[in-house]
Protein backbone atom coordinates (compact mmCIF):
# COMPACT_ATOMS: atom_id res chain seq x y z
CA UNK A 1 0.00 0.00 0.00
CA UNK A 2 1.10 3.52 -0.73
CA UNK A 3 2.98 5.65 1.84
CA UNK A 4 4.15 8.86 0.13
CA UNK A 5 7.56 9.99 1.34
CA UNK A 6 6.73 13.70 1.61
CA UNK A 7 3.98 13.32 4.23
CA UNK A 8 3.89 12.92 8.02
CA UNK A 9 1.78 10.24 9.73
CA UNK A 10 -0.08 9.41 12.95
CA UNK A 11 -0.56 6.09 14.72
CA UNK A 12 -4.30 6.49 14.09
CA UNK A 13 -3.56 6.46 10.31
CA UNK A 14 -4.01 10.10 9.33
CA UNK A 15 -1.51 11.82 7.05
CA UNK A 16 -0.37 15.45 7.23
CA UNK A 17 1.18 17.61 4.50
CA UNK A 18 3.03 20.52 6.08
CA UNK A 19 3.30 23.75 4.04
CA UNK A 20 4.37 26.64 6.28
CA UNK A 21 1.77 26.94 9.04
CA UNK A 22 -0.92 25.19 6.97
CA UNK A 23 -1.25 21.44 7.47
CA UNK A 24 -3.46 19.44 5.12
CA UNK A 25 -4.96 16.29 6.67
CA UNK A 26 -6.26 13.06 5.19
CA UNK A 27 -6.58 9.36 5.85
CA UNK A 28 -3.92 6.91 4.75
CA UNK A 29 -4.26 4.22 2.11
CA UNK A 30 -4.00 1.66 4.91
CA UNK A 31 -6.88 3.32 6.78
CA UNK A 32 -9.21 3.38 3.78
CA UNK A 33 -8.37 -0.25 3.02
CA UNK A 34 -9.17 -1.31 6.57
CA UNK A 35 -12.41 0.68 6.65
CA UNK A 36 -13.71 -0.60 3.33
CA UNK A 37 -16.35 1.27 1.32
CA UNK A 38 -16.60 4.75 2.81
CA UNK A 39 -20.12 6.16 2.83
CA UNK A 40 -20.05 9.25 5.04
CA UNK A 41 -17.71 11.93 6.37
CA UNK A 42 -18.46 14.31 9.23
CA UNK A 43 -15.90 17.14 9.33
CA UNK A 44 -15.67 20.42 11.23
CA UNK A 45 -16.39 23.77 9.57
CA UNK A 46 -13.72 26.40 8.95
CA UNK A 47 -13.16 28.41 12.10
CA UNK A 48 -13.47 25.47 14.47
CA UNK A 49 -10.54 24.62 16.73
CA UNK A 50 -9.00 21.14 16.83
CA UNK A 51 -6.51 19.58 19.25
CA UNK A 52 -3.70 17.18 18.46
CA UNK A 53 -4.60 13.53 19.16
CA UNK A 54 -8.26 14.44 19.77
CA UNK A 55 -11.09 13.28 17.49
CA UNK A 56 -12.25 16.03 15.14
CA UNK A 57 -14.38 14.13 12.65
CA UNK A 58 -16.04 10.83 11.85
CA UNK A 59 -15.66 8.49 8.92
CA UNK A 60 -18.26 5.83 8.26
CA UNK A 61 -17.93 2.72 6.17
CA UNK A 62 -20.73 0.27 5.47
CA UNK A 63 -19.70 -1.66 8.56
CA UNK A 64 -18.78 0.93 11.18
CA UNK A 65 -18.21 4.52 12.27
CA UNK A 66 -14.69 5.59 13.32
CA UNK A 67 -13.22 8.78 14.71
CA UNK A 68 -10.67 10.80 12.76
CA UNK A 69 -7.96 12.29 14.98
CA UNK A 70 -6.28 15.64 14.53
CA UNK A 71 -2.53 15.27 13.98
CA UNK A 72 -1.93 18.85 15.13
CA UNK A 73 -3.49 21.60 17.24
CA UNK A 74 -4.91 24.59 15.39
CA UNK A 75 -7.87 26.04 13.54
CA UNK A 76 -9.70 24.63 10.53
CA UNK A 77 -9.26 26.97 7.58
CA UNK A 78 -10.74 24.86 4.81
CA UNK A 79 -12.82 21.72 4.42
CA UNK A 80 -12.94 19.53 1.31
CA UNK A 81 -16.61 19.81 0.33
CA UNK A 82 -16.10 17.43 -2.62
CA UNK A 83 -15.03 14.70 -0.21
CA UNK A 84 -17.97 15.42 2.11
CA UNK A 85 -20.34 15.19 -0.86
CA UNK A 86 -18.70 12.10 -2.34
CA UNK A 87 -16.89 10.26 0.46
CA UNK A 88 -16.04 7.28 -1.77
CA UNK A 89 -13.16 9.46 -3.03
CA UNK A 90 -11.35 8.49 0.20
CA UNK A 91 -11.17 4.93 -1.14
CA UNK A 92 -10.22 6.01 -4.64
CA UNK A 93 -7.64 8.69 -3.92
CA UNK A 94 -6.69 8.90 -0.23
CA UNK A 95 -3.63 11.15 -0.68
CA UNK A 96 -4.74 13.43 -3.50
CA UNK A 97 -8.42 14.14 -4.07
CA UNK A 98 -9.46 13.05 -0.59
CA UNK A 99 -7.67 15.58 1.55
CA UNK A 100 -10.16 16.31 4.34
CA UNK A 101 -9.32 19.60 6.02
CA UNK A 102 -6.60 22.24 6.17
CA UNK A 103 -5.52 23.35 9.62
CA UNK A 104 -3.58 26.50 10.57
CA UNK A 105 -1.27 25.19 13.30
CA UNK A 106 -0.57 26.92 16.61
CA UNK A 107 3.21 27.29 17.15
CA UNK A 108 3.90 24.07 15.19
CA UNK A 109 1.54 22.45 17.76
CA UNK A 110 2.40 18.79 17.77
CA UNK A 111 4.17 18.52 14.41
CA UNK A 112 7.31 17.05 15.99
CA UNK A 113 5.32 14.08 17.29
CA UNK A 114 4.34 12.88 13.81
CA UNK A 115 6.02 9.94 12.12
CA UNK A 116 8.02 10.13 8.91
CA UNK A 117 7.02 7.87 6.01
CA UNK A 118 9.77 5.39 6.99
CA UNK A 119 8.60 5.31 10.57
CA UNK A 120 4.98 4.86 9.50
CA UNK A 121 5.90 1.96 7.20
CA UNK A 122 7.67 0.25 10.08
CA UNK A 123 4.66 0.95 12.28
CA UNK A 124 2.36 -0.67 9.69
CA UNK A 125 4.52 -3.77 9.70
CA UNK A 126 4.14 -3.97 13.49
CA UNK A 127 0.37 -3.46 13.25
CA UNK A 128 0.14 -6.27 10.72
CA UNK A 129 1.77 -8.74 13.12
Amino acid sequence: MAVPGDLKYTKSHEWARVEGDIVTIGMTDYAQGELGDITYLELPEPGEAVSAEEPFGVVESVKAASDIYAPVTGEIVERNEDAVGGPEVVNASPYEQAWLVKIRVDDQGGLDKLMSADEYEKYLEEVAH
Partner: protein, 373 residues
Amino acid sequence: MADDTLRRTPLFDRYVALGAKIIPFAGWEMPVQYSGIIAEHNAVRNQAGLFDLGHMGQVDVAGPDALAYLQATTTNDVSTLQPGEAQYAMLPNEQGGVIDDILIYRRPEGDGYMVVVNASNRFRDVDWMHEQREKRRELNVSVRDISDETGMIAIQGPNAPAIAQSISGDDLSNIAHYHWRSGTIAGVPVMVARTGYTGEDGFEIYGPIDQAGKVWDALMAAGKDLGLQPIGLGARDTLRLESRMPLYGQELGDDISPYEAGLGWAVKLNKGDFVGREGMAAVKAEGPKRKAVGFHMTERSGAPRTHYPVGVEGTVIGEVTSGAFSPTLGENIGLALVAPEYAGVGKPLQVEIRGKWVNAEQIKMPFYKRSDQ
Protein backbone atom coordinates in the same frame (compact mmCIF):
# COMPACT_ATOMS: atom_id res chain seq x y z
CA MET B 1 -17.03 -23.09 24.83
CA ALA B 2 -13.94 -23.80 26.86
CA ASP B 3 -11.69 -23.59 23.84
CA ASP B 4 -11.38 -20.04 22.54
CA THR B 5 -9.24 -20.91 19.52
CA LEU B 6 -10.88 -19.58 16.39
CA ARG B 7 -12.07 -22.27 14.01
CA ARG B 8 -11.73 -22.35 10.24
CA THR B 9 -13.98 -23.97 7.67
CA PRO B 10 -12.31 -26.11 4.98
CA LEU B 11 -12.61 -23.13 2.63
CA PHE B 12 -10.38 -20.83 4.69
CA ASP B 13 -7.40 -21.06 2.32
CA ARG B 14 -9.68 -20.05 -0.54
CA TYR B 15 -10.73 -16.85 1.28
CA VAL B 16 -7.07 -15.97 1.69
CA ALA B 17 -6.28 -16.71 -1.95
CA LEU B 18 -9.25 -14.56 -3.02
CA GLY B 19 -7.89 -11.64 -0.99
CA ALA B 20 -10.58 -11.60 1.69
CA LYS B 21 -10.39 -9.50 4.81
CA ILE B 22 -10.89 -12.00 7.62
CA ILE B 23 -12.47 -11.32 11.01
CA PRO B 24 -13.40 -13.36 14.07
CA PHE B 25 -17.11 -14.14 14.00
CA ALA B 26 -18.97 -16.41 16.45
CA GLY B 27 -15.81 -18.37 17.17
CA TRP B 28 -14.75 -18.65 13.53
CA GLU B 29 -12.35 -16.86 11.22
CA MET B 30 -14.67 -15.75 8.45
CA PRO B 31 -14.37 -13.42 5.43
CA VAL B 32 -16.08 -10.07 6.10
CA GLN B 33 -15.38 -8.86 2.57
CA TYR B 34 -13.52 -9.73 -0.63
CA SER B 35 -13.66 -6.98 -3.27
CA GLY B 36 -15.72 -4.64 -1.06
CA ILE B 37 -19.13 -4.76 0.58
CA ILE B 38 -20.93 -2.54 -1.92
CA ALA B 39 -19.52 -4.31 -5.01
CA GLU B 40 -20.34 -7.71 -3.49
CA HIS B 41 -23.83 -6.57 -2.53
CA ASN B 42 -24.48 -5.36 -6.07
CA ALA B 43 -23.11 -8.58 -7.55
CA VAL B 44 -25.72 -10.57 -5.62
CA ARG B 45 -28.55 -8.20 -6.61
CA ASN B 46 -27.58 -8.12 -10.30
CA GLN B 47 -25.67 -11.33 -11.04
CA ALA B 48 -24.70 -13.88 -8.41
CA GLY B 49 -22.72 -14.39 -5.23
CA LEU B 50 -21.21 -17.36 -3.44
CA PHE B 51 -21.16 -17.64 0.36
CA ASP B 52 -19.33 -20.13 2.54
CA LEU B 53 -21.64 -20.75 5.49
CA GLY B 54 -19.61 -23.59 6.98
CA HIS B 55 -19.79 -21.88 10.36
CA MET B 56 -23.54 -22.32 10.64
CA GLY B 57 -24.98 -25.16 12.71
CA GLN B 58 -27.03 -28.14 11.63
CA VAL B 59 -28.89 -30.44 14.00
CA ASP B 60 -30.43 -33.74 12.97
CA VAL B 61 -33.73 -34.53 14.69
CA ALA B 62 -34.98 -38.05 14.00
CA GLY B 63 -36.94 -40.93 15.43
CA PRO B 64 -40.64 -41.83 15.51
CA ASP B 65 -41.45 -38.86 17.75
CA ALA B 66 -39.35 -36.24 15.95
CA LEU B 67 -42.47 -34.33 14.92
CA ALA B 68 -43.93 -34.31 18.44
CA TYR B 69 -40.58 -33.11 19.78
CA LEU B 70 -40.29 -30.26 17.26
CA GLN B 71 -43.92 -29.26 17.81
CA ALA B 72 -43.17 -28.87 21.53
CA THR B 73 -39.89 -26.99 21.08
CA THR B 74 -40.39 -24.68 18.09
CA THR B 75 -42.92 -21.93 17.35
CA ASN B 76 -44.20 -22.90 13.91
CA ASP B 77 -46.55 -25.76 13.01
CA VAL B 78 -44.15 -28.49 11.91
CA SER B 79 -47.06 -30.86 11.19
CA THR B 80 -47.74 -28.91 7.99
CA LEU B 81 -44.21 -29.53 6.73
CA GLN B 82 -44.01 -32.16 3.97
CA PRO B 83 -40.90 -34.09 2.93
CA GLY B 84 -38.85 -31.81 0.69
CA GLU B 85 -40.10 -28.63 2.32
CA ALA B 86 -38.43 -26.04 4.55
CA GLN B 87 -39.97 -23.90 7.26
CA TYR B 88 -38.87 -20.80 9.17
CA ALA B 89 -39.41 -21.07 12.93
CA MET B 90 -37.96 -20.00 16.26
CA LEU B 91 -36.70 -21.82 19.32
CA PRO B 92 -38.71 -20.22 22.16
CA ASN B 93 -37.72 -19.67 25.77
CA GLU B 94 -40.06 -20.24 28.72
CA GLN B 95 -40.95 -16.54 28.91
CA GLY B 96 -42.02 -16.33 25.29
CA GLY B 97 -38.81 -14.75 24.01
CA VAL B 98 -36.55 -16.31 21.40
CA ILE B 99 -33.44 -18.47 21.80
CA ASP B 100 -32.73 -18.55 18.08
CA ASP B 101 -34.37 -18.39 14.70
CA ILE B 102 -34.04 -21.52 12.63
CA LEU B 103 -34.90 -23.27 9.39
CA ILE B 104 -36.38 -26.75 9.58
CA TYR B 105 -35.91 -28.98 6.53
CA ARG B 106 -38.04 -32.10 6.44
CA ARG B 107 -36.20 -35.14 5.12
CA PRO B 108 -37.96 -38.01 3.27
CA GLU B 109 -40.79 -39.73 5.13
CA GLY B 110 -39.45 -41.43 8.26
CA ASP B 111 -36.01 -39.79 8.10
CA GLY B 112 -36.77 -36.86 10.38
CA TYR B 113 -35.61 -33.27 10.03
CA MET B 114 -32.54 -31.09 9.74
CA VAL B 115 -32.62 -27.92 11.84
CA VAL B 116 -30.26 -25.11 10.76
CA VAL B 117 -29.20 -22.71 13.51
CA ASN B 118 -27.10 -19.56 13.72
CA ALA B 119 -23.36 -20.01 14.26
CA SER B 120 -23.45 -17.62 17.21
CA ASN B 121 -26.05 -19.74 19.00
CA ARG B 122 -25.03 -23.23 17.96
CA PHE B 123 -23.76 -24.58 21.27
CA ARG B 124 -26.49 -22.91 23.30
CA ASP B 125 -29.15 -24.25 20.92
CA VAL B 126 -27.79 -27.78 20.90
CA ASP B 127 -27.54 -27.87 24.71
CA TRP B 128 -31.07 -26.56 24.97
CA MET B 129 -32.40 -29.06 22.43
CA HIS B 130 -30.83 -31.91 24.43
CA GLU B 131 -32.27 -30.51 27.64
CA GLN B 132 -35.72 -30.38 26.08
CA ARG B 133 -35.36 -33.97 24.89
CA GLU B 134 -34.40 -35.13 28.38
CA LYS B 135 -37.47 -33.37 29.79
CA ARG B 136 -39.59 -35.50 27.48
CA ARG B 137 -38.29 -38.99 28.09
CA GLU B 138 -41.55 -40.44 26.75
CA LEU B 139 -40.58 -39.25 23.27
CA ASN B 140 -38.52 -41.54 21.06
CA VAL B 141 -36.36 -38.91 19.37
CA SER B 142 -32.68 -38.36 18.73
CA VAL B 143 -31.01 -34.95 18.59
CA ARG B 144 -27.57 -34.88 16.98
CA ASP B 145 -25.31 -31.91 16.20
CA ILE B 146 -24.08 -32.64 12.67
CA SER B 147 -22.47 -29.21 12.10
CA ASP B 148 -18.91 -30.56 12.07
CA GLU B 149 -19.68 -32.99 9.27
CA THR B 150 -21.92 -30.67 7.25
CA GLY B 151 -20.77 -28.11 4.72
CA MET B 152 -23.07 -25.24 3.76
CA ILE B 153 -22.62 -23.03 0.72
CA ALA B 154 -25.14 -20.51 -0.59
CA ILE B 155 -25.35 -19.29 -4.17
CA GLN B 156 -27.68 -16.32 -4.50
CA GLY B 157 -28.68 -13.84 -7.17
CA PRO B 158 -30.55 -13.82 -10.49
CA ASN B 159 -27.86 -15.94 -12.21
CA ALA B 160 -27.54 -18.41 -9.33
CA PRO B 161 -30.02 -21.02 -10.61
CA ALA B 162 -28.36 -21.20 -14.03
CA ILE B 163 -24.89 -21.54 -12.53
CA ALA B 164 -25.90 -24.32 -10.13
CA GLN B 165 -27.89 -26.07 -12.85
CA SER B 166 -24.90 -26.11 -15.20
CA ILE B 167 -22.99 -28.45 -12.87
CA SER B 168 -25.86 -30.56 -11.59
CA GLY B 169 -27.25 -33.72 -13.14
CA ASP B 170 -30.60 -33.03 -11.53
CA ASP B 171 -33.41 -30.72 -12.56
CA LEU B 172 -33.14 -27.84 -10.10
CA SER B 173 -35.74 -25.70 -11.89
CA ASN B 174 -38.67 -27.39 -10.21
CA ILE B 175 -37.43 -26.79 -6.68
CA ALA B 176 -39.98 -24.26 -5.44
CA HIS B 177 -39.29 -21.49 -2.91
CA TYR B 178 -38.70 -23.05 0.52
CA HIS B 179 -38.40 -26.53 -0.96
CA TRP B 180 -35.36 -28.75 -1.38
CA ARG B 181 -34.26 -31.92 -3.14
CA SER B 182 -31.34 -34.25 -2.91
CA GLY B 183 -29.09 -34.27 -5.94
CA THR B 184 -25.54 -33.70 -6.99
CA ILE B 185 -23.47 -30.58 -7.56
CA ALA B 186 -20.14 -31.30 -9.29
CA GLY B 187 -20.79 -34.97 -8.56
CA VAL B 188 -21.03 -34.39 -4.81
CA PRO B 189 -24.22 -35.69 -3.16
CA VAL B 190 -25.97 -32.68 -1.59
CA MET B 191 -29.26 -31.21 -0.44
CA VAL B 192 -30.17 -28.31 -2.73
CA ALA B 193 -32.64 -25.94 -1.05
CA ARG B 194 -34.32 -22.88 -2.53
CA THR B 195 -33.74 -20.86 0.60
CA GLY B 196 -31.48 -17.94 1.42
CA TYR B 197 -30.79 -14.78 3.37
CA THR B 198 -30.47 -12.19 0.63
CA GLY B 199 -33.90 -11.59 -0.89
CA GLU B 200 -32.69 -13.05 -4.19
CA ASP B 201 -33.41 -16.31 -5.95
CA GLY B 202 -30.85 -19.03 -5.37
CA PHE B 203 -29.93 -22.03 -3.32
CA GLU B 204 -28.44 -23.11 -0.04
CA ILE B 205 -26.46 -26.30 -0.56
CA TYR B 206 -25.72 -28.77 2.24
CA GLY B 207 -23.26 -31.60 1.81
CA PRO B 208 -20.33 -33.47 3.32
CA ILE B 209 -17.88 -31.01 4.85
CA ASP B 210 -14.85 -32.70 3.27
CA GLN B 211 -16.29 -32.04 -0.19
CA ALA B 212 -17.27 -28.43 0.37
CA GLY B 213 -14.13 -27.29 -1.44
CA LYS B 214 -15.04 -29.29 -4.52
CA VAL B 215 -18.53 -27.78 -4.62
CA TRP B 216 -17.13 -24.27 -4.08
CA ASP B 217 -14.49 -24.60 -6.80
CA ALA B 218 -16.96 -26.01 -9.30
CA LEU B 219 -19.50 -23.25 -8.65
CA MET B 220 -16.80 -20.55 -8.89
CA ALA B 221 -15.65 -21.97 -12.24
CA ALA B 222 -19.20 -22.39 -13.56
CA GLY B 223 -20.11 -18.84 -12.54
CA LYS B 224 -17.08 -17.16 -14.05
CA ASP B 225 -18.89 -15.84 -17.11
CA LEU B 226 -22.11 -15.10 -15.22
CA GLY B 227 -20.65 -12.56 -12.83
CA LEU B 228 -20.38 -14.83 -9.80
CA GLN B 229 -18.41 -13.24 -6.95
CA PRO B 230 -17.42 -14.57 -3.53
CA ILE B 231 -19.36 -12.70 -0.83
CA GLY B 232 -18.40 -11.95 2.76
CA LEU B 233 -20.38 -11.43 5.93
CA GLY B 234 -20.52 -7.66 5.41
CA ALA B 235 -22.64 -7.86 2.26
CA ARG B 236 -24.59 -10.77 3.73
CA ASP B 237 -25.74 -8.33 6.41
CA THR B 238 -26.71 -5.48 4.07
CA LEU B 239 -28.51 -7.93 1.76
CA ARG B 240 -30.58 -9.42 4.56
CA LEU B 241 -31.33 -5.97 6.00
CA GLU B 242 -32.71 -4.64 2.70
CA SER B 243 -34.89 -7.74 2.49
CA ARG B 244 -35.93 -7.23 6.11
CA MET B 245 -34.78 -10.60 7.34
CA PRO B 246 -34.11 -10.66 11.08
CA LEU B 247 -30.69 -11.13 12.64
CA TYR B 248 -30.62 -12.86 16.00
CA GLY B 249 -29.19 -10.58 18.68
CA GLN B 250 -30.56 -7.50 16.88
CA GLU B 251 -34.16 -7.97 15.70
CA LEU B 252 -34.57 -11.06 17.88
CA GLY B 253 -33.43 -11.93 21.37
CA ASP B 254 -34.25 -13.58 24.67
CA ASP B 255 -36.38 -10.60 25.73
CA ILE B 256 -38.08 -9.82 22.41
CA SER B 257 -41.38 -11.48 21.55
CA PRO B 258 -41.86 -12.73 17.99
CA TYR B 259 -45.01 -10.56 17.96
CA GLU B 260 -42.92 -7.48 18.70
CA ALA B 261 -40.40 -8.48 16.05
CA GLY B 262 -43.14 -8.81 13.42
CA LEU B 263 -42.62 -12.56 13.20
CA GLY B 264 -46.01 -13.60 14.60
CA TRP B 265 -46.65 -15.37 11.30
CA ALA B 266 -44.11 -18.02 12.38
CA VAL B 267 -45.86 -18.64 15.72
CA LYS B 268 -48.81 -21.05 15.64
CA LEU B 269 -50.53 -20.74 19.02
CA ASN B 270 -53.24 -23.22 18.01
CA LYS B 271 -50.94 -26.13 17.18
CA GLY B 272 -50.93 -27.43 20.78
CA ASP B 273 -48.66 -26.71 23.69
CA PHE B 274 -45.06 -25.63 23.19
CA VAL B 275 -42.35 -23.95 25.24
CA GLY B 276 -43.14 -20.26 25.79
CA ARG B 277 -46.66 -20.54 24.34
CA GLU B 278 -48.29 -18.87 27.31
CA GLY B 279 -45.97 -15.87 27.23
CA MET B 280 -46.40 -15.46 23.49
CA ALA B 281 -50.20 -15.80 23.74
CA ALA B 282 -50.27 -13.08 26.42
CA VAL B 283 -48.30 -10.66 24.24
CA LYS B 284 -50.61 -11.36 21.34
CA ALA B 285 -53.76 -10.91 23.48
CA GLU B 286 -52.61 -7.69 25.15
CA GLY B 287 -50.99 -6.34 22.01
CA PRO B 288 -47.21 -6.01 21.72
CA LYS B 289 -45.61 -3.20 23.74
CA ARG B 290 -43.07 -2.61 20.98
CA LYS B 291 -43.32 -2.79 17.23
CA ALA B 292 -40.67 -3.42 14.59
CA VAL B 293 -40.64 -0.63 12.01
CA GLY B 294 -38.50 0.23 9.00
CA PHE B 295 -37.26 3.73 8.24
CA HIS B 296 -34.94 5.75 6.05
CA MET B 297 -32.97 8.82 7.06
CA THR B 298 -34.38 11.95 5.43
CA GLU B 299 -31.41 14.22 6.04
CA ARG B 300 -27.72 13.78 5.38
CA SER B 301 -26.20 11.80 8.21
CA GLY B 302 -24.19 8.81 9.17
CA ALA B 303 -25.89 5.44 9.22
CA PRO B 304 -28.25 4.48 12.02
CA ARG B 305 -26.60 1.68 14.01
CA THR B 306 -27.75 -0.98 16.46
CA HIS B 307 -28.87 0.47 19.85
CA TYR B 308 -28.97 4.09 18.70
CA PRO B 309 -31.94 5.76 20.46
CA VAL B 310 -35.05 6.46 18.39
CA GLY B 311 -37.30 9.36 19.37
CA VAL B 312 -40.18 11.57 18.39
CA GLU B 313 -39.87 15.26 19.28
CA GLY B 314 -37.17 14.54 21.83
CA THR B 315 -38.98 11.67 23.60
CA VAL B 316 -37.20 8.35 23.34
CA ILE B 317 -39.62 5.75 21.96
CA GLY B 318 -37.29 2.85 21.22
CA GLU B 319 -34.02 1.96 19.58
CA VAL B 320 -32.47 0.92 16.30
CA THR B 321 -32.04 -2.86 15.96
CA SER B 322 -30.13 -2.79 12.62
CA GLY B 323 -29.12 -0.03 10.27
CA ALA B 324 -26.77 0.58 7.38
CA PHE B 325 -26.14 2.40 4.18
CA SER B 326 -28.29 0.52 1.66
CA PRO B 327 -26.26 -0.06 -1.50
CA THR B 328 -29.40 -0.75 -3.54
CA LEU B 329 -31.34 2.33 -2.41
CA GLY B 330 -28.29 4.57 -2.00
CA GLU B 331 -29.48 5.89 1.35
CA ASN B 332 -29.33 5.06 5.04
CA ILE B 333 -32.00 2.63 6.23
CA GLY B 334 -32.77 0.90 9.48
CA LEU B 335 -35.05 -1.25 11.56
CA ALA B 336 -36.19 -0.14 14.99
CA LEU B 337 -38.24 -1.48 17.85
CA VAL B 338 -40.55 1.35 18.99
CA ALA B 339 -43.61 2.05 21.13
CA PRO B 340 -46.52 0.92 18.90
CA GLU B 341 -48.45 4.22 19.05
CA TYR B 342 -45.66 5.85 17.01
CA ALA B 343 -45.51 3.13 14.37
CA GLY B 344 -46.89 3.72 10.90
CA VAL B 345 -45.62 4.07 7.35
CA GLY B 346 -45.07 7.75 6.59
CA LYS B 347 -44.77 8.76 10.24
CA PRO B 348 -41.65 10.64 11.32
CA LEU B 349 -38.95 9.45 13.69
CA GLN B 350 -35.63 10.79 14.79
CA VAL B 351 -32.50 8.77 15.38
CA GLU B 352 -29.85 9.99 17.78
CA ILE B 353 -26.54 9.74 15.96
CA ARG B 354 -23.52 10.78 18.03
CA GLY B 355 -25.56 13.06 20.27
CA LYS B 356 -27.64 14.70 17.54
CA TRP B 357 -31.25 13.91 16.61
CA VAL B 358 -31.47 13.27 12.89
CA ASN B 359 -34.76 13.08 10.95
CA ALA B 360 -36.07 9.82 9.56
CA GLU B 361 -39.34 8.59 8.09
CA GLN B 362 -40.97 5.20 8.42
CA ILE B 363 -41.23 3.40 5.11
CA LYS B 364 -42.72 0.17 3.80
CA MET B 365 -40.80 -3.06 4.37
CA PRO B 366 -39.08 -4.93 2.93
CA PHE B 367 -36.86 -2.08 1.72
CA TYR B 368 -36.05 -4.16 -1.34
CA LYS B 369 -38.10 -6.76 -3.18
CA ARG B 370 -36.84 -8.45 -6.29
CA SER B 371 -38.78 -7.57 -9.41
CA ASP B 372 -40.18 -11.03 -10.16
CA GLN B 373 -41.82 -11.32 -6.76
